[in-house]
Amino acid sequence: MSGLSSGTAAGTTPLPHRSVANIRSPHTSGNTNPSTPSSSSRPIPSSTFGSPSSLRADEDILILELGTRKLQIGFAGDACPRGTVWFTPSQLRRVGDFRDWSSESKSNVDWKTKKVTGEKWWSRDHELWEYDVREVDLGLIGDKVDRALREALTKYMLIDSRPRRMVGVLPSGLPLPMLSAVLDSLFSRFQPPAISLLSSPVALTVGAGVRSSLIVDLGWRETVVTSVYEFREVSTNRSVRGGRLLVEQTHKLLAKHLPENQKKKANDNAGETEDYELSFDECNDITTRMVWCKPHLSSPKAPKSSDGLPTLHEQDESGVAPVESSTDTSKTVRIPLLSCRSPTTIELPWEALAEPSENTFFDSQYTESSFDDHELPLPLLVYRSLLQLPLDVRALCMSRIIFTGGCTNVLGLRGRIFGEVSKLVEERGWDGVQGKGADQMRANPKLKGKRGSRPANSGPSGVDSPSEGASGQEQDGVWHDAANTAHDECPVEEQLKRGQDKRPRVQGKMRAIESVGAWSGASLIAHLKAAPVSTVEREAWLQYGAVGASKPSEVDQKSARQSFGPGGLMRGSAASNSWTLGVWGMN
């Protein structure tokens, strides 16, 4: 557990200590810069860093997780990051610009920004990534990372500026140009000798103690469902239903309850653009404080079943009881608002505070076919993600569902999604929809029957032990069948699995587990000295940039064929002299 000091694996050549003296300062890059005629000829002393501390900087590995709205950083081996820095509009200001914005001008800025950029969202300045390719300013992303990381290092890490190895934890769907911008910024501004990359789904999986999982990332910009099988990402599905939409919906709700005299004057062209009555910060705040999600049974699709289906068991019963008994519609909530024309307090029914999450994540008033693939309600998104998986993978993943992301804080949301997915599984089984999984099912009617008749028996809290009872056997059957029919597994892998896994695994039933989180998972991986998806060395990057990376497919043709879809399967280089950008190098 004290392995922090030995961050490089035994047998690895320790990196030569890089002093900051090696920084290629732009000013010395030659006579192209007319401003410093004398500095270009100045020799750079090769002395090492004369630090009073005896600690070797490259013994600390920094784990850096970049999300849409925040950066988290800490030392490898720690249980949690030491600091979190949020991306905010004030970070985009000049140094020394301390203008404080009144709430009024704040909301002005919000909606003005929105209008000017034509961007649908008012929250852009709160985000790091820009997924709109037309708008994207890669240098700006690099600058944002630079500034946030600098703040984190100074305020939370309290370390000097000697170069340190870094492990970057990144969403696996990150477009390559943005990954490049981040690496450019890190390598040129912080001089790490190398940066290793890990995808957050894999880190989350390790952080839950499992090898396979279904990561349901209830994120800010979108919800991403990723299935991980044996530490590999095998499929990814997305829906725009995320935190940003939730805040938008909360704004709608609050604006609706604003007294008329508090509303802003309708604009001349109000027809085209919708004005915002309240500031982003305030809506964001109220969302995290007050918004909740109704439990599963109250959804219209599921009339309270008197037929005694043991579906959602204790969870729903207990979930319904207090809420229903207290949903005296008379209960109202008073919420103070500051960013409208003048501070006021509105009163709205408690029930109404469940509307934003209802509209954002479920939209159950519409039929299933009316949704595009990128806007699926979350239960459907999760169900379809499972459905498309091969049997054996699905059996493992459905028993290792990991909810993560900011929207897990919406009270009741995880339980609701879990409940509805369980219900979909129960109603439809794994059949009836086109897809690989279904094909495999059809190819094996025995399985189909089995699976269809199987009750989705266990709830989240009442999980049967894997070794116990009928379900265990049944799943065992599924597992072996699948392994025999659908697979070209190499014997080594098989051998390895058998050798290690003497105890049966929980599979085939819905179960949710907790991960310590992507950052902490990455910290654990670095602590164990397991190699990450990809490692980029500074010299190589500065020389070649992203172009220098081998395409993972070039390096590993065989596994490329086993991909479940474009960009889905994580692979990397096994040849020691080439390097890849892992999943990110494939798009």
Binding site: P26, H27, S35, S53, L158, R414, L524, A531
Partner: protein, 583 residues
């Protein structure tokens, strides 16, 4: 929109494209009508990251270059707590974290400092009758905020001792339940394993299982520790290692694709021991809470009920939640973190005093006094001592229709009406400076204002000693310098190519500006934030001569002009002149 005072920002030369490893391409825009492509646009979003007020910039005397916070190397001189001002040894940082471990806390509600206060236990009713109150000593303590009156008793936390609060708090959950810290757990395990043998391992597992009571109660720190322990034990297990390595031995390494297929996680580059590749691969998954596997409790109905009964102010704001350090002592909170009752006192973040070096020549350019209590510096080469400062003042010249009204500070600028600004450059160094200015004829952006620098080239006298100056003044009394002093500025006309006024080590010049009209044409987007601010980018080049042999050379009497070395420095700056009137 509020008016604004004129300001100056300087762009550190490190922030051009060269910062990304490509060679610098800052072609000289010194000609007044510089190449459009090279004109620095202060409104570009990236510009905000490279502009600094002069006070934020340092200077390297050896490289003759400006150094900003982005192009400086830092070393830590001292770590200290800003509350108790105790110095913290650097070795503690790694083990104890980045916060004060004494009794320094901030209020979770208002970030005010918390103080330890004894809780007066109400005396038993019987003592009221008895004359002496001796029976009730102060037995417990709480943290109290003197600003907002928050007390740690609101989260159910009280302390037995008035000191060492940090350590006591680590053992308490909100509500008052005690917990084992990671350290204690580790020690307990050690103790057990010292007793030796298999039994000890089993006992250790039992300890872990007991304290986790079924998994729902396992806090984050424990889950992480359990995972770590589990992984380490798996990797240490000789049978696991055998299986992992030997089975892979021949097949694996000669067949990279199957290897990478299995060990996909470990597709690292050459930094890693290839044998590390099999590490996680040799592990089974965690199966119980004592191995780090936790099932989710998805039933949040009691929390929803709690929210239902809560007031808006019973919940924590996002600012309050963000200033909370990660709470490792609780199970996964998810939505429960929103309640005020989940907040914890915030231990003060430690701070550092830092020395700064030039990253190129390694010279120290800023070094603080070691003592925590003082904010002084032993060395501090601020850029303001090396490059001229620029101050801006609006100049009111008589218009064609008689004298102009006096300019009011922060007055809005009338669109399309020429207006004059006085820029005063002050030379801080002991050599005279030659200054060359370049500004685009129109400001970049949607609303181009016309800019004319009336005198783009001039010399500023050295910042000589005041006594020298007094002597010299006698000699040059009749020079142009003094002519402005004779009357008020409104008596003078601006002249192209002439400076406005000159002083000992300063020169004022005039810039004429015709502010753009901010009228929006049909279909144009509304004004962006600060788009009404008239900002002009200006390229400043300063040249000066020093004795050959550098700044340190003593100036002898027989020095030769040929021995002087020419120096120059060039950078962009941004002058914020004021807001343009809208509509």
């Amino acid at each position: 929109m509020a008016p604004l005072n004129p300001y100056t920002y300087i762009q550190c030369p490190c922030s051009d494209s060269a910062s990304l490893g490509r060679p610098t391409d800052l072609t000289s825009p010194t000609s007044a009508d510089g190449d459009e492509d090279n004109t620095f646009d202060p409104r570009a979003p990236r510009a905000n990251f490279s502009l600094y007020p002069l006070e934020y910039l340092l200077y390297c005397e050896d490289c003759h270059q400006i150094r900003c916070p982005r192009c400086i190397a830092e070393e830590i001189a001292t770590y200290y707590c800003p509350s108790c001002l105790f110095e913290v040894p650097s070795s503690n940082l790694k083990s104890e974290g980045n916060r004060c471990t004494r009794s320094c806390f901030q209020c979770p509600i208002c970030i005010g400092p918390l103080s330890v206060t004894s809780i007066e236990t109400p005396p038993p009713s019987s003592t009221l009758l008895s004359p002496d109150h001796a029976a009730t000593p102060h037995s417990t303590y709480s943290l109290i905020c003197s600003y907002c009156n928050w007390s740690s008793t609101e989260i159910g936390i009280q302390f037995d001792k008035p000191n060492g609060i940090h350590a006591q708090l680590a053992k308490l959950r909100n509500g008052g339940a005690s917990r084992l810290t990671a350290k204690e757990r580790k020690e307990r395990r050690k103790e057990l394993s010292h007793r030796g043998g298999e039994a000890a391992v089993a006992a250790a597992a039992a300890v872990a299982a007991n304290e986790s009571s079924g998994g729902q109660d396992v806090d984050l720190e424990t889950q992480f520790a359990n995972l770590k322990l589990f992984c380490n034990s798996q990797l240490a297990d000789p049978s696991a290692a055998d299986n992992g390595f030997s089975s892979l031995g021949d097949l694996g390494f000669s067949s990279p694709s199957s290897l990478s297929r299995i060990m996909n996680l470990y597709t690292g580059g050459k930094l890693h021991d290839p044998r590390a590749k099999s590490k996680l691969g040799a592990m089974r998954e965690a199966l119980a809470a004592d191995e780090g596997l936790l099932e989710s409790n998805l039933n949040e109905s009691s929390l929803i009920t709690r929210l239902h009964q809560s007031d808006f102010l019973d919940t924590a704001s996002s600012t309050q939640i963000c200033s909370q350090p990660p709470n490792l002592g609780e199970p996964h909170l998810h939505g429960a973190s929103r309640f005020n009752s989940s907040l914890r006192p915030v231990p003060y973040l430690l701070r550092t005093k830092r020395s700064k070096r030039c990253p190129v020549c390694r010279h120290i350019i800023s070094k603080p006094e070691a003592k925590v209590q003082t904010t002084r510096f032993r060395i501090r080469l601020v850029a303001g001592s090396y490059i001229p400062s620029i101050s801006i003042r609006r100049l009111n010249l008589p218009g064609p229709n008689g004298p102009a009204a006096p300019a009011i500070l922060g007055d809005l600028l009338d669109p399309l009406k020429p207006v004059h600004f006085l820029l005063t450059f002050k030379n801080p160094i002991f050599e005279s400076l030659k200054v060359t200015l370049g500004a685009p004829a129109t400001t970049p952006g949607r609303f181009p204002s016309k800019v004319t620098v009336l005198c783009p080239q001039f010399d500023i006298d050295a910042n000589t000693d005041v006594w020298d100056e007094a002597l010299k003044d006698n000699d040059r009394e009749s020079s142009s310098r003094s002519r402005r002093r004779a009357g008020t500025e409104s008596q003078f006309q601006v002249e192209v190519g002439k400076i406005w006024e000159r002083g000992r080590n300063w020169v004022s010049i005039v810039v004429e500006v015709v502010p753009a009209s901010l009228k929006l044409e049909a279909g144009q987007d509304v004004l962006k934030e600060d788009e009404d601010v008239l900002e002009i980018p200006m390229f400043v080049r300063i040249e000066w001569e020093v004795e050959n042999g550098g700044d340190d050379a003593t100036s002898g009497p027989g020095r030769d002009k040929d021995q002087k070395e020419k120096r120059e420095l060039a950078y962009w700056c941004v002058l914020g002149l004021g807001r343009i009137k809208q509509g």
